[in-house]
Symmetry: C2
Subunit: 523 residues, 2 copies
């Protein structure tokens, strides 16, 4: 057994049985070993950013890591943007980067680069294996590193000779690799301090994030809210948000600081529950970076890495709120619009009317998606995945990985056109794997968010040359042609009726499909 | 005048008047300032790897740097693969990365990341500006840093508040920014030592690279070769190679070490002239990494950073070879194939028959391009640009930047299909800017080079699962649809006649066009 074979067997034994791969020459023994370990499912991507974004989506939905397979420093570079998003999502990812043979590195061949330097900014764990005997044990450690609460990117660098050398053996999984702890238990005194704040009767909100956005956390938070008249808010871009009819509703903090000020205005206490301290997404002249209003004290029930759901359960107990009534979202869909122009608002209503039960929504709709969360709030229960790190090009790969993780659920990818063009190659992987993903591209032929931000940062409306840098209409991108070119059937909708008909058809049929929704900029 | 305005004026004053941009919110003041400085030409890219690859292509052809404009760490990440190639090409690039406002960085907003960590592996110069007054002087230093021989990527990080703060002023260019030295002069004693080797009469070759591959260097090297019976070889993947009828012919070292052994076999001396010591592109079990055969001594006339062309001139003088006859490549085109199957060999003949005088060839044809250099060796004079760093996805962006630099010359992009999919968004920029680029995609529907490398690294022919990881035919990529979807007219050729007709038409008409050449794998 060579190193690559031992590596893949070890990963599978640790429960890592999907690998999103874009390999090169230095990874050929890994590729060859796929035939020796049929339990590992390889998923080919045409670009590394697709592989890393898919690994993020897989981890968010499967609750355990997939592996990637990337080709030296430049391949890692192509994957960094979506590893950044995975880092912000606290998604466990076993990020395998092939490297030149150990003895070859000193020759500075063309592809030689500083892999450690590139990996550092996105990795919570890093190791370069230099001896075959160390490979399988380091693979176990990488899985454990990725799964250590709150979860992150563990980068394992595997030189080619370590892969091809015979005499290797798999390593046994450790408990930390296969049964990770949910995080550090919160001190009872901290819980009691928060309970005292909540009992004060002053205007208070819980700010939920991370694991608190799944059912158990939401239910516990809703009991706390009910027992103490506390409001429930959440971080702006949660990694995974379970929502819809029958689940407690949580109001997400807005992207626009102007709106956040309204949401947080009047609060005397904000309790962080797995969410970071709220800050402005970008800086703006003469606007605060810290979104917490004057007079509001911030408390932390549980930070990232803590047992967030356990802390909420402790808080329920401390407040004697186990029997508190839980207010849930009533079932409610918008009426299907009768007609009229297709725009961000009517498109949202159509999506709200049609969203299937159990759907997974990969949301990178940006400005065009402004109305969709509201329109789907009372839809049948579903899962919402946000752009956690702001690195655009997440939507299509994330949907791809989510579909691999949950083959029995429909994935709906809501995708802005500008962002789609970063990682559109994901469509090919969806076609090749027959993944059940319906993509809606909001085709407004502009970087609409930047047209808005141009004014918000104080740069005015821009002259002709500036505005042209935000326009995607010369030439227009033909998203239908691009989708078909990558093997995904696609249609274009320019009216409400067309959009409703095409989306219903795409959602009804298995396999990938794309609907190009031509809309004017929403902002 | 705010910082962004001062920055752009300073860049223009330093001769940097093209900016390949993919901006975000933190770069909006830079974008707004484009209307204040009309001498700066902004070129929008839909993906950062297009921007960085175009900046590389521009620098190779213009001989001076363009700027990039990238959005924080993730935007830089997307640009790293082609910055890696630029680094290996010694291309001067002023790599501008926007960042959060200085005071905002401590809040760890979603897009915050370690930009310095990511930039380090590809940058020869790095600075993060923290005060508005430092911006323009640092821009001058960045241009000088990029242009310092042998040339490289100078990364200038510009926080948003530094861009938007008023009271800035442009900085005056320094001589190092506008009139860079050609490199360190080589010691006469070193030249004399090489001259003594060449006079020895033993089997000797010059290994040319970097600036030696342009006309002056080639002419000097040819005089040396003529006067001393020395062979002329070159590095495998030169950044810029002037070639064709009337220029001295140079034999490039092969990619395959098996062939390199034949090229270097029997040599007693190898003299490096701006080229690195020849090493194997990848490591292979039981094959040497160092390609220099036993019994061959390596000498260095000029290394990267030295005045390579000046050193060759000194060598000509030392050998009293100024009057030596220069052997040049005779004009010679292959006959246009009469018909038959379109494959890598017949496609190469068609290209050789049609290559226009003065063409710039961006070569990322990989295995399918095996026969093209030979078929074009005697074509009218042209410029050949290679994949310097092995990070695929260079071809289309490089062609884009070369076309911006040289609007009066035809650019021919020879592009493998697998590699095309990394940065295909470059086609949109070509359409938007009306660039005169003809792209030939060698459409063999596989990662053919990996199918070859699988065996070369000793992993055999691969089982069914391994082989499927190297195949791009399920579904087939429709390159014609992808090209049209990005606004570039495209046709498909499956026969020699179709390819000849379509390529002739594309070359005859101005503006971008793509020919999808369906060929079987060449290896």
């Amino acid at each position: 057994m060579n190193g690559a074979q031992a590596l893949i067997r070890t990963l599978v034994d640790c429960g890592v049985d999907v690998c999103f791969a874009n390999p090169g020459t230095s990874e050929m023994h890994f590729v060859a070993a796929l035939d020796d370990v049929p339990a590992m499912r390889p998923v080919l991507a045409l670009f590394e950013g697709v592989a890393t974004g898919a690994a993020d989506g897989y981890a968010r939905m499967a609750g355990r890591p997939a592996a990637t397979l990337l080709h030296l420093g430049p391949g890692l570079g192509n994957g960094i943007a979506n590893l950044h998003n995975a880092r912000r999502a606290h998604s466990p990812v076993v990020n395998i980067v092939g490297d030149h043979a150990t003895y070859h590195q000193r020759f500075d061949a063309p592809l030689q680069s500083d892999i450690a330097g590139l990996a550092g900014p996105v990795s919570c764990w890093y190791a370069e294996v230099t001896e075959p005997a160390a490979l399988a044990p380091q693979a176990v450690a990488a899985v454990a590193g990725a799964r250590r609460a709150p979860g992150g990117v563990a980068t394992l660098v595997v030189p080619a000779d370590v892969s091809w050398t015979d005499g290797a053996a798999p390593a046994a999984p450790t408990p930390a690799a296969v049964s990770p702890r949910p995080g550090t238990s919160v001190e009872p005194a901290s819980v009691e301090a928060v309970a005292a704040v909540l009992r004060s009767g002053e205007p208070t909100a819980l700010l939920l994030g991370g694991p608190a956005m799944a059912e158990a956390g939401l239910a516990a938070a809703a009991r706390v809210a009910s027992a103490t008249s506390t409001r429930l808010l959440s971080e702006t871009f949660p990694a995974v948000h379970e929502r819809g009819a029958g689940l407690p509703a949580v109001e997400r903090l807005a992207y626009l600081a102007e709106l956040t000020a309204l949401q947080l205005g009047g609060l005397r206490h904000l309790v962080l529950v797995g969410a970071p301290h709220p800050v402005s997404f970008f800086a703006y002249p003469d606007k605060p970076s810290d979104l917490v209003p004057d007079g509001c004290t911030v408390h932390t029930l549980a930070a990232a890495g803590d047992d967030v759901v356990g802390a909420l359960a402790m808080l329920v107990d401390a407040l004697d709120a186990a029997g508190a009534a839980v207010t849930t979202q009533p079932a409610q869909r918008p009426a299907m619009p009768g007609g009229g122009a297709l725009d961000a608002q009517s498109a949202a209503a159509v999506i709200g009317a049609l969203l299937p039960e159990g759907a997974i929504v990969s949301d990178e709709a940006n400005t065009s998606g402004l109305f969709v969360p509201g329109a789907t709030a009372g839809a049948p229960r579903h899962t919402w995945l946000c752009l956690t790190g702001g690195a655009i090009g997440q939507g299509l790969p994330l949907a791809t990985g989510a579909a691999v993780a949950c083959p029995d659920r429909k994935v709906l990818c809501l995708q802005a056109d500008g962002s789609a063009l970063y990682t559109a190659q994901a469509l090919w992987t969806q076609a090749r794997e027959g993944l059940d993903v319906t993509t809606v591209v909001f085709d407004n032929r502009s970087y609409a968010i930047l047209a808005m931000e141009l004014g918000r940062v104080g740069a005015g409306t821009g002259g002709a040359r500036a505005r042209r840098m935000l326009e995607l209409d010369d030439p227009p991108l033909d998203m239908v042609a691009l989708s078909k070119g990558m093997g995904v059937p696609a249609t274009r909708a320019t009216t409400v009726e067309e959009f409703a008909e095409q989306l219903a058809k795409a959602l009804a049929e298995p396999g990938p499909a794309l609907v190009d929704a031509v809309v004017p900029p929403a902002v």
